[in-house]
């Protein structure tokens, strides 16, 4: 079991498919506690990623991660663009010395926290990345664990991102970025040969 350009591409394509299918749902999640665009932002991003990978087959994992990062950074905008972009950029850097999934996700998680300044409990995508990166480090990840991480954001009160402007009224809603991150992890465990 190891990450290759091929199964990375398969994983990202599966993620892209989920985001595209759930575009409206992600935007809906972003409506009560955000500005209703997370689905559109992510759909635009994954489309750009696929176009980039189609246009130029990456030579190696580092190149692949970098292409993904650049596509996201230059096409998504908003909060999720730099955050997802940073995650993949950190994986690109890390992939120069390790192709272990656990190492890559630890680097990505650290990058997201540094870029956005959020920590676990702030009702952001960090509430998915941090615990699931830890699970990956411990060697396994299940869909139930993914769901649990995503769902944990529901009752939280947002401290970062647009939802934080709502204060206590942000509670009772799933965080859209947590949900889209959940799709990334689901796509990961569903892609054969990676874990």
């Amino acid at each position: 079991m190891a990450l290759t350009v091929d199964n990375l591409t398969e994983w990202i394509n599966a993620f892209a498919q989920k985001v595209t299918d759930k575009k409206d749902y992600l935007s809906e999640l972003d409506t009560p506690i955000g500005d209703g665009d997370h689905g559109n932002n992510m759909a635009r991003g994954v489309k750009a990623v696929q176009e980039s990978l189609d246009a130029k087959a990456p030579a190696d994992l580092t190149a692949a991660f970098k292409q993904i990062a650049m596509a996201l950074i230059s096409k998504v905008g908003g909060a999720s663009g730099p955050l997802y972009g940073t995650a993949f950029l950190e994986m690109a850097k890390k992939s120069k010395d390790s192709t272990e999934i656990a190492d890559l996700f630890a680097a990505a998680d650290a990058g997201i926290k540094k870029r956005g300044g959020a920590q676990a409990g702030d009702k952001t995508m960090v509430d998915v990345w941090e615990p699931l990166a830890a699970k990956l480090a411990s060697g396994s990840l299940t869909q139930a664990e993914i769901d649990e991480a995503v769902n944990s954001t529901e009752e939280m009160i947002a401290k970062k991102g647009r939802a934080s402007y709502l204060g206590e009224r942000s509670s009772g809603h799933l965080d859209p970025g947590a949900m889209s991150s959940g799709y990334l992890f689901t796509a990961l465990i569903e892609t054969e040969g990676i874990l």
């Binding site: 500005d35 209703g36 665009d37 559109n40 905008g77 908003g78 909060a79 647009r162 402007y165």
Partner: protein
């Protein structure tokens, strides 16, 4: 959704194209980007560049404030979505005339992260970049542990002040100092009668009943602090002035600039009536604004409603900056 558009996904490129081609005397589009820069290159020579931007949907902000005496360039993101770092970086490069570039953006995570990444890119080119994060909306509580307050219509005053100072030769450091000094004195609060419809979403950000209004709404259909039955204009003015008074401590011995800002679908008729009520209230406090503007400056697509900005003019120079000559589409 009933709009004069083509593909909802194409509104930004088509809008920027229409704007730039309608006003070539003011704007030039930077190739391959949704960023615009002043056509009048000479007016930027030897001066610090001022670049602003953010999500689209706030027209005439920000491109409408590009011109001599105000912004050097503006970057147009997707609707209600921060522009990307590469685009901001292109605007920085075009705005730099050897004295560095000052960035103005609003306090949203997205804007902060994208503008910061653009700054990193400019660093590599040795372009000196400084910035101010505007957070004038008092509807949202400030707190050290959160994102803080939102940036809204007061940003336009910031553009005007910095643009005038830059035009008069202020250095990057002086602009930073000026921006920091001005920032805490600009406060805004808004109301909505109807939320905005993002073209790609197709329905309003929130629903208000036929007789309801929302106080403290943001410029992206963010809900505000309370929802009530609609009242007379003078009662709405009283609520907004009351909130701003709590924050600024309105006082007849001080000088103020005031902006009544339409959200996009609210006609000037209503804005002028509100201004009448507002000026009556200020009058009762023996305050007569030293500067005032009424109109659509920082809109929220087709939101119905308005915001009120009060800016305490701590220094006479700030009033001079507001009155300083300017040539843009939107001011």
């Amino acid at each position: 959704m009933k709009k004069i558009i083509n593909e909802p996904g194409n509104v930004v490129p088509e809008m920027v194209d229409g704007l730039v081609r309608a006003y070539p005397q003011y704007l030039r589009q930077i190739p391959e980007t949704m960023a615009v820069i002043r056509s009048n290159e000479d007016s930027m020579a030897g001066k610090v560049g001022i670049v602003s931007g953010g999500g689209s949907g706030h027209e005439p902000s920000h491109a409408g404030f590009v011109g001599p005496g105000m912004l050097s360039g503006a970057v147009c993101g997707q609707v209600f979505t921060s522009p990307t770092p590469d685009q901001i970086y292109e605007a920085i490069k075009a705005a730099d005339h050897g004295k560095g570039v000052f960035l103005v953006f609003k306090n949203y995570s997205g804007d902060a992260m994208n503008f910061d990444m653009a700054k990193d890119l400019a660093d590599v080119d040795d372009i000196e970049v400084k910035s101010i994060v505007v957070d004038d909306d008092i509807a949202v509580e400030d707190s050290l542990y959160t994102q803080g307050k939102r940036g809204v219509a007061g940003t336009v005053f910031m553009h005007k002040i910095l643009g005038a100072a830059a035009d008069q030769g202020a250095s990057l450091d002086e602009l930073e100092e000026l921006a920091q000094a001005v920032l805490p004195n600009i406060k805004t609060i808004g109301i909505a009668l109807h939320a905005a419809t993002v073209p790609e979403v197709g329905k309003p950000g929130f629903e208000l009943a036929d007789d309801e209004i929302e106080y403290g709404v943001g410029i992206h259909s963010e809900p505000g602090y309370k929802r009530e039955k609609i009242k007379a204009s003078k009662d709405m003015a009283e609520e907004l002035v009351g909130q701003l008074d709590k924050s600024l401590g309105l006082d007849s011995s001080k000088k103020y600039a005031v902006m009544v800002n339409g959200m996009g679908a609210t006609p000037l008729m209503e804005q002028y009536i509100f201004s009448h009520d507002l000026l009556d209230l200020l009058n009762a406090k023996e305050i007569s604004p030293a500067f005032m503007k009424v109109g659509n400056y920082m809109t929220s697509i087709d939101m119905a409603g308005l915001s009120l900005t009060i800016f305490e003019l701590k220094e006479d120079k700030w009033l001079d900056y507001l009155n300083y000559k300017v040539d843009t589409i939107g001011w």
